[in-house]
Amino acid sequence: MPLLEVDNLEIAIAMRGQLLPVVRGISFSVDEGETLGIVGESGCGKSLTSLAIMGLLDGTPVRITGGDIRFEGQDLRQLNRRERRAIMGSRMAMIFQEPMTSLNPVYRIGDQIVENLRQHQKISQKAARARAIELLELVRIPEPQQRVDSYPHQMSGGQRQRVMIAMALSCDPKLLIADEPTTALDVTVQKEVLDLMADLQERMGTAIVLISHDLGVIAETCDKVAVMYRGKIAEAAPTDDLFARLAHPYTRGLLNSIPVVDRDVEWLEAIPGRVPGIDEDIEGCAFHPRCPRAQDICRRNEPKQHRIGNEHTSHCHFAEEAAP
């Protein structure tokens, strides 16, 4: 049984009295200790997917409109709020894209880690603090004894993201969801944080869902990859298989755009055009207006799933021939 199983998940945003679909039926699974990469341009629904899994959509106009999320065999959508909270921060944890603003500026970082620990474990204040120092050491914060009493504003972005990682791992979660954890960081720091995550995963056996718009980041760290475009999975495969044989023009486009280092680009240069807005309707394949290989059939029919290899699937009419 996989640790996490997402089955035909649909998410929509309530806007002007309408429900606009954003995630249109996606499925994937993650085994214990495995790393799944979800990649796609910004706006394709990656963050909403991760928030839905984590259970953080309450109080937003975003709703889950269909599908199942199973975690450790439990159907998360059937749990009540209290049961759901018992999982959040303990067996499933999350880190976010914005390290500069993801910590509460008025509390010491140690206390913020302690808060997570004491929410889920019967542990004294003193023991929790000692554990917080250990965790800071684990994420390679220098002088953890002193830094435990620092406030977030006294740390750099990279350090804050390490603190977030320490906090997320404090209760030894089975699954860590990392939504663009390095996007806001400098390139060198980016690599350090990714290495740290890979290292910790090896030691602790945590499964990771790593979300990124950068296929390069995914390629280095993930066991398998799901490529998302406009709320759907365009192509999914174990990382090696994917790069051995690209079966979707969108994946190829992403690959060609890796050298774009400027993290502020909203769209990727190698793919012409832009991601369609959520209120735009597109007939046929959602990618066809930007696809260099689009044919008549792409404009008319939505592609079905094609199986290229054992675990390799693609939603492209020309999946079998889309290779290099």
Partner: protein, 315 residues
């Protein structure tokens, strides 16, 4: 923090000097002279001239100013022209009432303003919020004198539950019972300010609740009430603390109206009547005291601010 406090108090000196010049000039620019007001309509010009000389009001303004300043520096604010008593004891008399009124008002502002604001934010858009926001809007825009008169009409005249005016001197016996006299005035004074605090607490809690760190707090699996108090309200307090400085300034000016409506022998009344009597030393004394109070309140607000927000460093 101690060094900072000392530094702030030292910077108060030039402020006070400037204020004293302004107050002195302003007071002496009020038309009409104290001697003729003191002596009444029947006084002869000779009598008025004699009293003017006696009070030292015939000297050039600048001489009068320095004469006054030197005494003030020594802690002597002079004597009231009207009462004949030392200015400080006249002020102390009125301060009794005003300080009690201010404290009671602050208590109302805190116990109504903050919880209702939190409630309003927590139920954003629902009927609780609409009711409290609407009420807050109403009370924020109602003039103090109007509200005071209506409260008197309802609770003193119709229901007869509370006294409509006055405040007996505190003599130790049944002093707590005297607080009844301050109930209506303090509620009157608190209403518009509590309404402002409600709106501020609500707005800043809604601002904070959209911040990323609140999502982090929820991702820890914390109970929503803990998120609301420890993460949203706690951070919203930073903005609310800053507003208390303004609230104090508003209180001072509204207190004048309230004390008049309820005939309370407080500082506000004292200012108004001293101006009518051209009681220069008292006006000058009161205003200097208010300036000092204002500076102290703002210092306290800044200290609170620094305590609430670790990113603020006192310099």
């Amino acid at each position: 923090m101690f060094a900072y406090t000392i530094k702030r108090l030292l910077t108060l000196i030039p402020t006070l000097l400037a204020a004293s010049v302004l107050v002195f000039l302003f007071v002496h620019l009020i038309p009409g002279d104290p001697a003729s007001i003191l002596l009444g309509d029947t006084a002869t010009p000779e009598e008025v001239a004699a009293l003017t000389k006696e009070l030292g009001l015939d000297k050039p303004l600048i001489v009068q100013y320095f004469y006054w300043l030197i005494q003030v520096v020594q802690g002597d604010f002079g004597r009231s022209l009207f009462f004949g008593a030392p200015v400080l004891s006249v002020i102390a008399n009125g301060a009794q009432t005003s300080i009690l009124l201010a404290l009671m008002t602050m208590v109302w502002i805190v116990i109504f303003g903050i919880p209702i604001g939190v409630l309003s934010a927590s139920y954003q858009g629902r009927w609780v919020d609409q009711l409290t926001s609407g009420g807050a809007m109403l009370f924020a825009s109602v003039p103090t004198f109007w509200l005071g008169l209506y409260l008197i009409l309802i609770f003193a005249v119709w229901l007869g539950w509370l006294p409509s005016s006055g405040f007996p001197a505190i003599d130790g016996v049944g002093a707590l019972g005297h607080l009844r006299y301050l109930l209506l005035p303090s509620l009157t004074l608190a209403a518009p300010n509590a309404a402002l605090i409600i709106r501020l607490v609500r707005a800043s809690m809604l601002d904070v609740s959209r911040e990323d760190h609140v999502r982090t707090a929820r991702a820890k699996g914390l109970h929503p009430s803990r998120v609301a108090i420890k993460h949203i309200f706690r951070n919203a307090l930073i903005a609310v603390a800053a507003a208390f400085g303004f609230t104090f300034a508003a209180l001072v000016s509204e207190a004048v109206v309230t004390e008049t409506v309820f005939s309370l022998p407080g500082i506000g009344q004292l200012v108004v009547q001293s101006i009518l009597r051209r009681d220069y030393p008292v006006i000058q004394g009161v205003i200097l005291v208010i300036v000092v109070l204002y500076a102290v309140v703002n210092l306290l607000v800044d200290l609170a601010y620094a305590r609430l927000d670790p990113r603020v460093s006192l310099q």
